[in-house]
């Protein structure tokens, strides 16, 4: 690995940590370069702008999560379990840092939005594939799969990411998922336990 690439990676990782703890808007380039012990010019040798750095930080995060999701896809778990597993592996929450709080912070609205957008782009094809499998196996029955998957992702992220959800939210989510995919009642019931287990 070349020296330049190493430095760039180092900067991305420093930024990752700082963006999540302090927020993107509240982290200045000056702070990043101080932490890294480099000069302003060096920073801009590696990144065209602060926002492009953010882009790279997000890429790094997404890739990590996409890997986990793909692993679930290729496993031989039951289809409904796969779906829940993929959705949950996409939530950036259970990492070592207090990411949830950081992303929910209003001042990270931009970062949050960008992450969600990329996450959808990555997750929709993966989940769609699983749903196709499910249709072949006869446990799902629906058309317009990508659209349905997107709505599922939307509701799940908006409901569960925020951390403030009730038993009733889970109930409605299960009901919605089953109906959206044309599954028999009860098919997705175990989501309840997975969410409970996945909780912090």
């Amino acid at each position: 690995m070349k020296k330049g690439e190493k430095r760039k990676l180092e900067l991305v990782q420093i930024a990752y940590r700082m963006f999540l703890t302090k927020g993107y808007e509240n982290t200045s380039v000056d702070e990043i370069i101080e932490e890294a012990g480099i000069a302003k010019g060096t920073f801009y040798y590696y990144f065209e702008s602060k926002e492009l750095l953010l882009e790279e930080v997000i890429c790094m995060m997404i890739n990590k999560e996409a890997e986990a999701a793909t692993a679930v896809l290729k496993s031989d778990l039951p289809i409904p379990v796969k779906i829940t597993g993929i959705i949950m592996s996409l939530q950036p929450e259970k990492e070592e840092f207090t990411i949830e709080e950081a992303l929910l912070n209003p001042e990270n609205a931009l970062m949050h939005k960008k992450i969600k957008q990329k996450l959808y782009d990555v997750a929709t094809p993966i989940l769609s594939e699983v749903v196709e499998e499910g249709i072949k196996e006869g446990i799902f029955d629906c058309t317009n799969i990508p659209e349905r998957v997107k709505m599922m992702l939307l509701v799940s992220s908006e409901t569960f990411d925020e951390g403030q959800f009730t038993e009733r939210d889970i109930e409605v989510f299960i009901d919605l998922t089953e109906k959206l995919l044309g599954a028999k009642k009860g098919t997705m019931e175990f989501v309840r336990d997975m969410i409970a287990r996945g909780e912090r």
Copy 2:
């Protein structure tokens, strides 16, 4: 009306216009005060910060939309039409300015998020009331109404606000709404026309 209140209102309206045309981040306080013909100090006499001004601008917008929504609620339109009407009256799009573009602009992520949050808070009780009506009339059949309404709002705003939606998105949305509320197939079919008509 006192002189001070008038000035404050004037500033909020100027900011409203400028935020929507140029974006919140891209509108400087200097530009606002130049437009208003006042000095910096005067601005900060009325608003503690630029962000608190944004808060007031959003309040103004929400109130306008909440009024429209309540008007629909109190009308004697058929229930399903009421629901669509309320949802559509909450979309800040069809105003005189090019608001949609401004809100979709990534740099307005903060503003967009804040608006959406407030809109949910205002709209959920109103829509829930309509759904209750529908249940009494026998065209809907469901429990956990507020949760279902919130998910409906979520999907509708995320799908249609972005402006990039297909015929298939509409189809899935109709299907989802009917199933979410426990309505007979076809109950919400006319949404298609309303969306088509409401389009720009």
